[in-house]
Each structure stands twice: as structure tokens, then as C-alpha cells.
């Protein structure tokens, strides 16, 4: 089973995955014209902030199984494509009740007028695993856009095994190095250290210093 896996420590918040996702789900599939289409294409991946400056996480549908959104959908709009093992939203059946969004553990279902093929009304919009791209041998648009290795596409267990090996190595190297699975390069570590320090200083001011 191939899926999009996230290495959170690799995300540097550039949001290029969001842009690529919106383009991939536009009518034109062209980065130069997609932003000017009506309805405007929307990203289905959402880069959110961490607890300190300079940390971020690309949040998207995890295609859960069983999926809470599928369980609660009253019209069967939200359904599992067993063949490709992804959760899809059928805009023609969607009544925009938002039950799926309420139960989604990741809050990644949004409501928009869809660009390609869907009815011209606001319907549930979510990651479709780039099924069209994948079936023609491409990788999902968000993964293609990510040059930092935060989003990777592959067999879930293989990706987990690779992460597990890194984690083991890090644990063996230093029993205290538990915060991040892989050691950051010095530049990224310095960049993040300033973010943590600035955030900490602002927290101190909030709590009454000086």
C-alpha cells in the first residue's frame, strides 16, 4: 500500500506543497493560469505552525481505515475506493452537511466550489491521493513539490522501517536525542534554535518578565 508519509522534522514551512496541490486540482493544471480560474482551485494539504517559530507540519487526509468521515456520511458521498485504497469525496452526492469535517481527527476536510468535474456548489474538498497522477505513473503533487523530504511517497511499512532504523541509530548514538529522529544539519539547527529562543523569550514576557 503506497501512501504519502510525513517526516515532520524535514518541513521548513515553504508551503510549496499547498501551491502544487491547488494546481494539481485545477482545471488547467498550469501553475501560471490556475490562480486565475473560477472557481479558484484550493489546496487539500495544509501547512500549520508548531509551538515555536520555524517549525511546521504539512497536514492532510491520512485516508484512515476505518475512516470516521465515511462512517458518518449520510449520503455515501464520502467513500473508500478499495481498489486504490483511498478515501474519496463524491461531490455529486455531497450535501455539505459537514458531518465528515466534524469527526475528522485531522481537521483536513474543507468546503469549496470544486474546479474539475464537480457540481458548481460548495462541497467537501479533501486529498484524493492524486489518484489520477498516481495511476499514470506520477507521484502525488505535494510530494513532487517537496524538496526537503518532508513529504515522501512509498509503501507505508517500508517508510516506517526506514524511519525506525534512523531512530534506532539516533537512540544508540545518544540516549538523550529523542526529540527528532534525525540530526539536523547545523544550518537548520541554528535556524530552529533562534526560533525556539525567540519564542521562549516572548513566553517569558507574557509571564511577566521583565
Amino acid at each position: 500500500m503506497k501512501t504519502v508519509f510525513v517526516n515532520p522534522e524535514r518541513c521548513i514551512g515553504c508551503r510549496q506543497c499547498e501551491f502544487a496541490c491547488a494546481v494539481a486540482h485545477s482545471r488547467s493544471h498550469d501553475a501560471a493560469t490556475a490562480p486565475f480560474e473560477t472557481p479558484r482551485p484550493h489546496s487539500r494539504i495544509h501547512v500549520g505552525t508548531g509551538t515555536t517559530y520555524n517549525t511546521s507540519f504539512p497536514n492532510k487526509c491520512r485516508h484512515c481505515d476505518p475512516a470516521p468521515c465515511v462512517e458518518v456520511c449520510p449520503t455515501s458521498s464520502m467513500h473508500r475506493d478499495r481498489e486504490r485504497d483511498v478515501v474519496l469525496a463524491d461531490g455529486h452526492k455531497c450535501i455539505a452537511c459537514a458531518m465528515c469535517a466534524m469527526v475528522c481527527p485531522f481537521d483536513v476536510i474543507t468546503f469549496h466550489s470544486a474546479a474539475n468535474g464537480a457540481p458548481p456548489r460548495v462541497v467537501a474538498t479533501k486529498c484524493d491521493g492524486c489518484v489520477e497522477r498516481v495511476s499514470s505513473g506520477e507521484i502525488p503533487a505535494c510530494v513532487e513539490a517537496c524538496k526537503a523530504g518532508a513529504l515522501v511517497f512509498g509503501d507505508l511499512n517500508e517508510l516506517i522501517a526506514a524511519g525506525c532504523a534512523r531512530e534506532s541509530s539516533a537512540m544508540l548514538t545518544s540516549a538523550t536525542a529523542v526529540s527528532l529522529a534525525t540530526r539536523e544539519p547545523d544550518g537548520v539547527a541554528g535556524w530552529r534554535a533562534w526560533g525556539a529562543s525567540a519564542t521562549h523569550v516572548n513566553e517569558e514576557v507574557r509571564h511577566g518578565k521583565p
Binding site: G13, C14, K147, G190, R206, P210
Partner: protein
């Protein structure tokens, strides 16, 4: 983080907090909302490894090492970071130097007698500047001398001369070093243009070479464009002398016409101050029910006027939207630099008229009144008149002016400081030698919403003066320290015993206001004077610089010229260099062996204070002066 920060985290000031609370209540967007909306900000850009200098790109280098390591042209992270930093310095230096040129052009027209509202107010300084350039003023009329001086300075903007006269103020050791390194600034505009050339694809592909030119570019600002701005402003508007003033949003008066002067250039605002006293305009203000016309300053235009005339300051960079939220501001007059495009949006929520005045800095939604020095006074009156008429539209029920002002002192030009010392740096040098004053630090630069407003400036300054270090401030830092009550002679009580004794003897505060951000050149001039007095180089003196809350390209240029002049500098906000460990190593370590000074980056002002104190003690040790060992300068966690 995010959009739900507590007010207390955004600013240390009660006036700011009250207005941010009002903005939230009324759904008015401010800089803090926009910062939250921008999170997360792009790491490629923040680490300096994205390049959009050509259309084979845009490119980026993966800082983790797995993805692309070179742009399409082949530039690696080192080259891309150096190119970007070089262009940042060139933009900052250009801003300062173009400001200097604007002052110089009016000065030249004044010399020809073609202006209205201007005069040569400091003829002593005019003569000494002329003599500095080999122009003999003896027996000549001031405007003739001014004309020759203007021409000589104009030559330094181009390449005709190939040398900047002001750089001769630096000690010989320093100017020789610059020549040896090939970073002696040759022309004010030239270095900026050359930086744009070098960072074009396929020109300078050696990051060290690019960064050395970055230093030269910044020197053309510090010892060139900015210094022209400072010195000629003194000749035209008066060299600052100690003056009492006030600061914070309480500077606005509910029953007066309030006009804020915002931006950086004193050319127009000085004339506006004259125009605000015009009897006709004051009478019209009274006719509309106001008691009179009240001018307040914002950012460095405000600092220029506060330094020379004691103009009360409404605030620094992050106060520019908040001053509008008082509902009591009738007009905001802007020139250029650091004026957020959002001011016209916030002004729309009130009756305030935003008036732009520089043809190179227009704002959608503002009234544009083009500045013309030949009709300076007339234009000044027209602008004030707009403010007076806008008063009639003010809704008194929406007026909320938080709190009372804090008293502060301004006006410490180099001339004023030397004057207070009795005309020679000797008493200051003796106090430093004896250890009463450990050293001096310029705490300068902007506000940045990533740091609690003014926390960096105020905390760092406080820790330094507590440890007998004299602090020199400019720009946003002066406003921050003024608001914290650290800029009155009485603030000597906050200082350590040695500094307190010196301040009390001279009747000065432990934190000296040296002006606007172009006036950082006053700090250079003072440092050079001290080094020359001692027959040494600036880099050997117990000095440091700090920009705890910097945000702008101009600040990068300032930081670079301060380090290139031999002064260790601590930045509170990281520049976009972390994508290249080589560039980081060069700026934070290697430069020490090149120019005798380096950069450090530290967000926490408590820690920055310790770093600076240790640096100053090490310089004292090298000079053979009484000093503390590094281990005896406590880190904050060790302190009580």
C-alpha cells in the same frame, strides 16, 4: 505563536497593549495579525537558500542535503546566500544613501538661494565640514562655502573621485586595513551598483569575495551616504544639543489638532514644524474647536525633530498602526522608509488623513502633496491645513488616548557629548581606563513583531547600564528606552555605581539618544574620535553594537558597516544566512581575523547582555585595563 497570543506577549508597553486590544475589539487588522497569518514562513527564504535572480530559476537548495544542492546555474548554498545577503545590504545602503542625496540636493539649492523654509543654521559645522574636504571657508559667505561643499559631496556619489572623504575620519589603521582588503569604499552609488552587478548570474561566484564587497557596500553607507545625511541635516536644521522631551501615545492631546510626522527625512517635517506655528492656521484650529496644533513624531522623522527641537514622540515602528487606533490623530504625514502600506487601511477606520509627500513613496488611499523645497514653507502650511480641516471630522466618542507620557532626554550629537565632557574625549577615556565605565554599546535598530515589542531594546540596555556600560541609542531603540524611563538623568540610579557617578557628575542619562538611524554615523564618528585620541584602532576599544529587534534591509547595512568598522555586533533576529554554514562561520567567527570584529546572533537579551559584557571585558584585558575574567561575568541562569 499563531493568532491567539496574549497581549502581554506582543509588547511590553501598556499604551501598545491597550491599542492592540482595541484593534481586536473592532476587528482592525494589525502587523501582529498579519505575522500570524504568514505562519509558517518559508524556510528556504528564511535560511537564504532560495534564489530568484534569473529565469532559469527560481531555485532553492535543500538544507537537509538530500534534495537539490545547486540552482540551475550551478550556484550552491554558499553562493546563493552570499548573493541574497549582498543584495540586502545594497538595498539598505541605497535607502540610506538616497536619503543622504535628497538632503544634499536641497542643501545645494539652499546654497543657491532657491529654497523657502531653509537656512544654514550651523555655520560652525558648515565651516568644519568644508575644511575637512580642503575647502577654505576664510572670508567667504556661508552660501558660497555651502555651494562648494555640495559639489564636493555630489562627486562622492559617483566615481569621479574614487574615495569617500568621511572615511578619513576613521583611524589610519582602519583605513589601511580597508585598502589592504580591497573594501575601501570608492563611491556612494558605485558600491551599490557593483553589488547588483556582482550578484547577477555568472559574475561573482566566490561567496567570500561577494561578502567582502558587501562590507564595502555597507561602508559606502556608514562613512558615505548616511554620514552626508547626518552632517548636512545638522548644518541645515541645527546640530542637536541636549533637550527635554516626552514619549508614548500620551503625546497626543484630545483637545488639539494632532498631526504625526512619520518616516525618515527631516527635510519636510522641519518646515511643517515651522508651519504649525502659523497664526492663521492656529486661528483656524481654534475656530474648529481645538485648543491648538499638536505635532508628534513617529520613527526616525520623529527622532530627527526630537533631537533638535524636543518634539514629543508618539512611538516607534510597531506603533505606527496603533497611533491611528487612538482615533485622535487628524493627519499622518509620511515621507519614506518603514511606513507600512497598511497605514492607509487602518486610517480608513477613522477620520485620519494620510498625506504622502515624497514622489518616490506614494500610498494608495493617501492624499499626495508633492514636496518641493523651493516652496517648502508654503507646502508645509498646506499640509498642516489638511490636518486642521480633518479635525472637524473627528468623532470625540471614538477617541482613546492611553496613559500619560514619560519624560526623556534627547539631543546627544557628538558635539553635544564632547561639549558635556568639556570639549575633549579625555574625561570619557579616563572613566573607561579607571573602569568606572567598562565600555560603550550602541543599542540600535528597529522593532520586529517576532520579538515582544521593545523587550529586546529595554532589557539589553538595562542590563548593560546596570553593569557600568554606557549605552548609545538611535531609531526605535531610543523610543523604547525613553518609554522605559531609562533616558532621563534620574535614570542614573538604574546604572551601576561607576556609570552612575559619571552620569551624575555630568548631569546626563546613562542612555544617550544619538538620533535617527542614519545618525548611527554619529556613533562611528565618536568611536573614531576615541580611537584617534588613543592612537589605536576602533576594533581595540571596549565597544559593541546590538540590534535586538531589527527587521529592515537598512539594519543589515548598518550591522555590516559597524562590524567592518571593527565593532562586535549582536543581532537579536537571525538574518537569512543559515542555509550556508560557511557563510555563518565567516560572519560569526572568520571575520574576526579579517576586520577585527564579528557578528553574533542571540534572541534573548539577557544572554546577549552577557555576551557583550564578556566581549567588553576581553577588550579591556587586551588593552591592559582592569577587567573581569569571562567566568566572572555571570550568565543569566547563574545570576540571582
Amino acid at each position: 505563536m499563531a493568532s491567539h497570543e496574549k497581549l502581554s506577549q506582543l509588547s511590553i508597553n501598556n499604551d501598545a497593549r491597550a491599542m492592540i486590544a482595541r484593534a481586536r475589539e473592532e476587528g482592525i487588522e494589525t502587523v501582529w495579525d498579519r505575522l500570524a497569518a504568514q505562519q509558517p514562513q518559508c524556510g528556504y527564504c528564511a535560511m537564504g537558500v532560495s534564489c530568484r535572480n534569473c529565469s532559469m530559476g527560481p531555485c532553492r537548495v535543500d538544507p537537509f542535503g538530500d534534495g537539490p544542492q545547486k540552482g540551475v546555474c550551478g550556484a550552491d548554498a554558499d553562493i546563493i546566500v552570499a548573493r541574497n545577503l549582498g543584495r540586502t545590504i545594497a538595498a539598505g545602503a541605497s535607502a540610506h544613501s538616497d536619503h543622504g542625496r535628497d538632503i544634499l540636493e536641497v542643501f545645494a539649492e539652499l546654497a543657491k538661494g532657491e529654497t523657502s523654509g531653509y537656512e544654514l543654521r550651523d555655520e560652525t559645522k558648515l565651516r568644519s565640514l568644508a575644511e575637512e574636504r580642503g575647502i577654505d571657508p576664510t572670508g567667504r559667505r556661508p552660501n558660497e562655502v555651502a555651494s562648494d561643499l555640495a559639489e564636493a559631496m555630489m562627486e562622492e556619489f559617483g566615481t569621479a573621485k574614487g574615495h569617500l572623504s568621511f572615511s578619513d575620519r576613521a583611524p589610519d589603521k582602519r583605513t589601511k586595513l580597508w585598502k589592504t582588503l580591497g573594501i575601501d569604499p570608492r563611491g556612494i552609488d558605485r558600491e551599490n551598483v557593483e553589488m547588483l552587478h556582482r550578484t547577477h548570474m555568472g559574475v561573482d561566484n566566490d561567496y567570500v569575495n561577494t561578502l567582502l564587497h558587501g562590507l564595502r557596500t555597507s561602508l559606502s553607507d556608514g562613512w558615505g551616504g548616511s554620514m552626508v545625511a547626518t552632517e548636512l541635516s545638522d548644518v541645515m536644521f541645527g546640530t542637536p544639543q541636549p533637550v527635554a522631551s516626552r514619549v508614548n501615545l500620551g503625546a497626543l492631546k484630545a483637545d488639539y489638532v494632532n498631526i504625526a510626522l512619520h518616516g525618515h527625512n527631516p527635510l519636510l517635517s522641519d518646515v511643517i514644524m515651522q508651519a504649525a506655528e502659523d497664526e492663521e492656521l492656529v486661528a483656524r484650529a481654534r475656530e474648529l474647536g481645538a485648543k491648538g496644533i499638536n505635532l508628534v513624531g513617529l520613527c526616525c522623522t520623529g527622532n530627527e525633530l526630537q533631537m533638535r527641537k524636543g518634539l514629543p514622540m508618539a512611538g516607534n515602528h510597531l506603533m505606527q498602526e496603533l497611533v491611528l487606533l487612538t482615533g485622535a490623530l487628524d493627519a499622518m504625514v509620511v515621507d519614506y522608509q518603514c511606513i507600512m502600506p497598511s497605514v492607509t487601511d487602518v486610517a480608513k477606520c477613522f477620520h485620519t488623513e494620510v498625506i504622502s509627500t515624497a514622489d518616490k513613496a506614494k500610498f494608495t488611499g493617501a492624499t499626495h502633496i508633492s514636496f518641493d523645497p523651493r516652496r517648502g514653507y508654503e507646502i508645509g502650511k498646506e499640509i498642516v491645513s489638511h490636518g486642521v480641516e480633518a479635525y472637524a471630522n473627528r468623532n470625540p466618542e471614538r477617541v482613546r488616548i492611553p496613559g500619560d507620557t514619560v519624560e526623556m532626554m534627547a539631543g546627544f550629537s557628538v558635539e553635544a557629548i564632547l561639549g558635556a565632557l568639556g570639549g575633549t574625549p579625555e574625561p570619557l577615556v579616563e572613566a573607561i581606563k579607571a573602569g568606572k565605565i567598562r565600555g560603550a554599546v550602541g543599542v540600535v535598530g528597529c522593532n520586529n513583531p517576532k520579538i515582544s515589542q521593545d523587550h529586546g531594546h529595554v532589557t539589553l540596555t538595562r542590563r548593560l547600564i546596570e553593569n557600568d556600560i554606557l549605552v548609545l541609542v538611535t531609531g526605535c531603540s531610543a523610543v523604547a528606552n525613553g518609554k522605559a524611563g531609562q533616558m532621563m538623568p534620574e535614570a542614573a540610579e538604574m546604572a551601576g555605581p561607576g556609570l552612575k557617578e559619571v552620569c551624575k557628575a555630568l548631569g546626563i542619562p546613562p542612555v544617550l539618544h544619538m538620533g535617527s538611524c542614519v545618525d548611527n554615523t554619529r556613533i562611528l564618528t565618536l568611536a573614531a574620535a576615541l580611537a584617534n585620541y588613543l592612537g589605536t584602532d576602533i576594533s581595540q576599544l571596549p565597544l559593541a553594537g546590538a540590534a535586538p529587534e531589527w527587521y529592515s534591509e537598512k539594519a543589515v547595512s548598518i550591522g555590516a558597516y559597524v562590524v567592518a568598522s571593527g565593532i562586535y555586533t549582536v543581532l537579536g533576529v537571525q538574518p537569512a544566512i543559515f542555509g550556508s554554514p560557511n557563510v555563518v562561520n565567516l560572519l560569526a567567527a572568520g571575520l574576526e581575523d579579517v576586520v577585527g570584529a564579528k557578528f553574533a546572533i542571540e534572541a534573548d537579551p539577557e544572554k546577549a547582555a552577557v555576551m557583550i559584557r564578556r566581549h567588553i571585558e576581553s577588550k579591556r584585558a587586551a588593552l591592559g585595563l582592569p577587567h573581569l575574567e569571562t567566568k566572572d561575568v555571570e550568565a543569566p541562569s547563574e545570576a540571582a
